[in-house]
């Protein structure tokens, strides 16, 4: 048993260490068609690059799809450094990313891991929509203050929560300057099957009463070589996600060099002056694809009024 799991890990290391995972991607999204059932031989072979440049073939079931255990989840995927780039010029507050996220993580409608703000830096400037997941700070205030190490920063840059360890002191919530964390104030109402699933900090599921949760950057999806649901759900390609070590990010349609994107589009990190060093980069809302008013579509009167108040819009 032990040997098997070591093997699995080796494969994992082999595969993902290689930086250039597999040619799963190569047949493109096209042939990865057959989705692998979890934890078993799928019969589907994928190619991995060994550190010394040889291509080997392994069963897909060996390298992915099993949610990591509580300790394994602390490690981080080898040689990766996940980053996100959010293109504010294309966001129109469609909130599809949130819906995708809530669906994938079985969240109740009021639990928002991605929040939407209508920001306006000063009165002469025009408002812009600002979707905000957890920024996975490189100097995360939330991680610093946790008394039991229930929230932690991994080598791949992802900040996760171990809901089996969290004592629910909420200190991290007070410490996060970006209001990224939410609390399970009551017993979560879960669908059958979700509550019975094995817990993994990488899936953040099933959630537990009296503990915190937040956007987890979907490391379970990264393991499978798949994009997080927010990226996939956005109709406007606002979210780019990828590995900085590979210097590539993708929004599902376009794949671009990360360094070039943040350079040519003058990316910035939100409230950089706090010294939190976020892993999420924002592209300023220049040459916008939408008028900010389109973002009011489908919102209640009450919410529109609130947004207008927050952005100091008087008309």
């Amino acid at each position: 048993m032990k040997r098997r799991s070591t093997n699995r890990r080796n494969f994992l290391r082999l595969g993902i260490a290689a930086g250039a995972t597999a040619l799963i991607a190569s047949g493109g999204s096209v042939l990865s068609a057959i989705s692998a059932p979890e934890n078993k031989e799928t019969g589907e072979k994928i190619k991995l690059l060994t550190p010394d440049g040889k291509l080997v073939e392994v069963d897909k079931g060996h390298v992915c799809c099993q949610p990591a255990g509580n300790l394994e989840a602390r490690q981080g995927l080898p040689d990766k450094k996940m980053v996100m780039v959010i293109d504010l010029a294309k966001c129109r507050n469609a909130r599809k990313c949130l819906q995708g996220c809530q669906k994938m993580h079985h969240l109740p409608p009021h639990m928002e891991w991605i929040k939407f703000y209508l920001l306006r830096d000063s009165e002469e400037m025009s408002p812009y929509w600002f979707p905000k997941p957890c920024l996975h700070c490189n100097n995360p205030p939330c991680v610093k203050v946790c008394p039991v190490g229930a929230t932690f920063k991994r080598t791949d840059g992802i900040v996760l929560i171990d809901n089996d360890r969290c004592i629910g002191c909420k200190f991290c919530m007070a410490a996060c300057p970006y209001s990224s964390r939410v609390f399970n104030w009551e017993e979560p109402k879960l669908d059958k099957g979700v509550d019975a699933a094995a817990y993994s900090p990488e899936t953040s599921s099933p959630p537990k009463m009296g503990t915190v949760s937040k956007c987890d950057f979907c490391p379970d999806m990264v393991r499978k070589g798949e994009l997080p649901n927010c990226v996939k759900s956005c109709p406007n390609g606002v979210f780019y996600y990828g590995d900085r070590n590979e210097d590539a990010v993708t929004n599902g349609t376009d794949t671009v060099r990360f360094s070039e994107l943040i350079d040519t589009r003058a990316a910035y990190r939100f409230m950089e002056e706090l010294g939190t060093e976020p892993s999420v980069y924002y592209l300023p809302a220049v040459d916008r694809a939408f008028d900010y008013k389109e973002g009011f579509e489908g919102l209640s009167e009450e919410e529109i009024t609130l947004y207008k108040k927050e952005a100091n819009i008087t008309e």
Partner: protein
């Protein structure tokens, strides 16, 4: 021993308190226990139903509990600082009040931390603090500091009690069957011999020296829980001293109130005199003035600097519809009123000073509320929430019940304790003068009870869970009966010498193309007009089915080198049948790498199948080069094949693995003649990844910085060494008492 007249008088005065309990006393206990019982019930509800029963929510994550926590730890200062400093300075009038001060310390240091436990969502996981404690976390500092402080305070209180315990041992108390043996045990054979006296005095002095910096540290650590966060109104360097001053201020206030109460109920007019009230009153207003000064300095600085977020908190405090009234009370009334009462001789008497102290205590409780809640209600990003209880904190009955339970427990413990040991030292050590003659009691009108009624109604928790998650998968039960014509796309792939067909089935529903899952697709091969079914497979959630073309079909040579394939869907439910076709001419790509003076090149050769099973160079073809990344392919170049060959510069700036190995992919995409064909090659020309770069996580790391560990060890061992020494001296006293 202790034959002096004063001690005998005291014994005579205080023993009855220990011997009987009045009916009022019993009634008081019943009331207190009821209040506490209600609090326990509230706690039970909170544990079973979760913190949803409190007013705390995602923004205001802490509420009354943390306010009470700071408040109780604050008043614990009475003992530590007041009695410690008065003791060290040998202030002569301290004796009658010193025990009360220490009892306040011990009891409130026991109750305070209970409130922080109430903030914890998972009490069952408290052992994690020991199992996984990280000393970078101010909460762990707090846990360590408070336990140390509590231990020290208990030892200090005990040392000061030894003399009295020995008297009670020698003059057994009536109706105290189980108490007398305890007195005997705790009095450690103390007989007031010269040696024992000396040891006891040294130990008491030592401990009062240790406890003062410790007390300062405890409240600083408490302030740092807030000061260390990046929150407006909290992230301030002044916080630690500010908390310390506010704490001593409230501690002195509580001490005065307690003195007043016990003076009344135990008729201690002879022992606790106006002198005590006057002197403590003066100490209190000095502290009050300091507190006012700190407050002014804090708010002036943030108002003058006017950083956006600080202003938001200030705006709340100064807003008449939010906190202005409380702010005025906590800052102006709470400072100025005591100063006026104590400094103007006309107003100064025992009752008015006690009243001023009560106002100060109340003001300080409110000040803590104003430190915690408005800041949490003003996050850096707008608090965008439509649920009122998430925007504005209002404590629920559960929180109030537990708040009152804490106060009741404080009074109860105090009362019971005063039944166990006299409320003030019996033994006069001869240091102090007799102040009883100075007594001149002016009975004022009954003190008006000031009950500040917080008009906080219980937050009604309204369920907002009506919205259902929007489903992404299309409903197969389309509403209208008209049939839908799906689209079937058939593509050919040649990847790593495997020939594949992939069919994608999609249908337009509500103006959007959505994949059709679980549909049967038949893959067919056409030769000379005859269609043969090769395989039937079902589509997945992406509407896709694929099939590997057997070698023998390729080997058959097709129709003059061109192969015709077809995929068909027979129709199901509302979906009509559909067909997709694809013709393909085999294409072979070969990728190789070469290094010339010009640089590192990737060279591609392309051949198509010609007559007689020969491979001939392709005339004209567009090829795109990619590098596979975790989620997708990164395009790094493109070229046109001319006369069967093309070359591009190798993308050396793209990161490969640690050794620089990078896979390059050449693809012909959706070509009308050749379909999708690709070739790949791997070479160590990429940018090598820096091997296992250690991520610097600073304080976020699992391990604490060494200086922090050392500081903690040094501080703790210093303090605990003293405790150990003092405990050792207690044993020594016991040993010396043998002879």
């Amino acid at each position: 021993m202790y034959e002096d007249e004063k001690t005998q008088q005291n014994l005579y005065a205080f023993k009855p308190q220990l011997e009987k309990m009045s009916n009022w006393g019993i009634a008081l206990i019943v009331v207190l226990v009821t209040v506490i019982g209600f609090g326990v019930y509230a706690l039970y509800i909170q544990i079973v139903d979760g913190h949803i029963v409190t007013g705390m929510r995602d923004n205001v994550v802490w509420g009354l509990y943390i306010v009470n926590f700071i408040f109780f730890i604050g008043i614990s200062y009475a003992g530590a600082l007041i009695s410690g400093i008065l003791h060290l300075l040998r202030v002569p009038w301290r004796t009658p009040i010193i025990r009360m001060a220490e009892m306040i310390t011990v009891i409130s240091t026991m109750i305070g931390p209970a409130y922080i436990l109430l903030c914890i969502g998972r009490l069952d996981r408290l052992p994690n603090l020991l199992l996984f404690g990280r000393i970078q976390s101010p909460i762990i500092w707090d846990v360590i500091a408070i336990t140390t402080y509590l231990s020290g305070s208990i030892i200090f209180l005990y040392l000061a009690m030894i003399r009295d315990l020995s008297i009670l041992r020698d003059n057994p108390v009536k109706n105290a069957r189980w108490r007398n043996p305890i007195y005997k045990f705790l009095s450690v054979r103390y007989k007031d011999t010269t040696k024992q006296k000396e040891i006891l005095n040294v130990s008491t002095d030592l401990l009062s020296i240790v406890i003062i910096p410790l007390a300062i540290l405890v409240h600083s650590v408490l302030a740092w829980i807030f000061g260390m966060t990046l929150r407006p109104g909290w992230h301030s360097t002044i916080f630690a001293p500010y908390f310390v001053i506010a704490a001593v201020y409230s501690g002195t206030g509580v001490l005065i109130v307690v003195m007043w109460v016990f003076r009344k109920i135990y008729h201690l007019e002879a022992q606790i005199t106006k002198i005590h009230f006057n002197y403590l009153g003066i100490i209190m207003i000095i502290l009050g003035a300091l507190y006012g000064y700190f407050t002014f300095s804090e708010y002036l600085t943030s108002w003058y600097g006017s950083i956006k977020w600080d202003m938001e908190v200030l705006y709340r405090l100064f807003n008449p519809h939010e906190y202005l009234a409380l702010f005025v009370f906590a800052v102006f009334v709470g400072v100025l009123l005591p100063i006026i009462i104590v400094t103007v001789p006309k107003f100064r008497n025992i009752n008015s000073i006690a009243f001023a102290a009560a106002i100060a205590v109340l003001a300080l409780w409110i000040k803590r509320y104003l430190i915690i809640i408005p800041t949490l209600e003003s996050p850096l990003l707008p608090l965008h929430d439509l649920r009122p209880e998430y925007v504005k904190y209002s404590a629920t009955w559960v929180e109030w019940a537990l708040t009152f339970a804490g106060i009741a427990l404080f009074i109860l413990l105090f009362y019971l304790f005063s039944k166990f040991i006299p409320i003030m030292p019996i033994v006069r050590t001869g240091e102090e003068k007799d102040y009883s003659r100075l007594r001149k009691i002016v009975f004022e009108k009954q003190m008006k009870k000031v009950i500040k009624h917080h008009n906080k109604s219980d937050a009604a928790v309204t369920g907002m869970m009506i919205l259902l998650l929007l489903s992404f998968t299309p409903s197969l039960m389309a509403q209208d009966d008209s049939k839908i014509q799906p689209l079937l796309k058939l593509e050919y792939f040649h990847i790593d010498s495997v020939n594949k067909l992939a069919a994608t089935l999609k249908a337009k529903v509500d103006g959007k193309f959505l994949p059709l899952e679980d549909m049967e697709i038949a893959f067919k091969y056409s030769q000379g007009g005859n269609l043969t079914v090769m395989n039937i497979s079902t589509t997945n959630d992406k509407g896709r089915a694929s099939f590997d073309i057997p070698e023998e079909i390729i080997a058959s040579g097709g129709d003059k080198g061109v192969y015709l394939f077809e995929a068909s869907f027979a129709g199901k439910g509302n979906y009509e049948s559909a067909t997709g076709r694809n013709s393909m001419k085999p294409l072979r790509l070969e990728l190789s790498f070469s290094q010339k003076e010009g640089g590192k090149m990737a060279n591609l050769k392309a051949f198509e199948s010609g007559p007689d099973n020969q491979w001939i160079p392709v005339e004209n073809l567009d090829v795109v080069f990619y590098v596979p990344r975790t989620f997708s392919l990164l395009k790094v170049g493109q070229a046109s094949v001319v006369n069967g060959a093309a070359s591009v510069e190798f993308p050396t700036s793209v990161p490969g693995n640690q050794l620089g190995y990078l896979t390059l992919l050449a693809k012909v995409e959706d070509n009308e003649t050749y379909g999708n064909v690709e070739a790949s090659g791997t070479i160590n020309w990429g940018k090598p990844l820096p091997a296992d770069k250690i991520l610097k996580r600073g304080l976020g790391d699992t391990n604490a910085p060494l200086w922090m560990v050392y500081t903690l060890i040094v501080l703790l061992s210093l303090v605990w060494f003293h405790y150990m020494y003092v405990i050792y001296t207690v044993f020594r006293i016991r040993y010396l008492g043998k002879s």
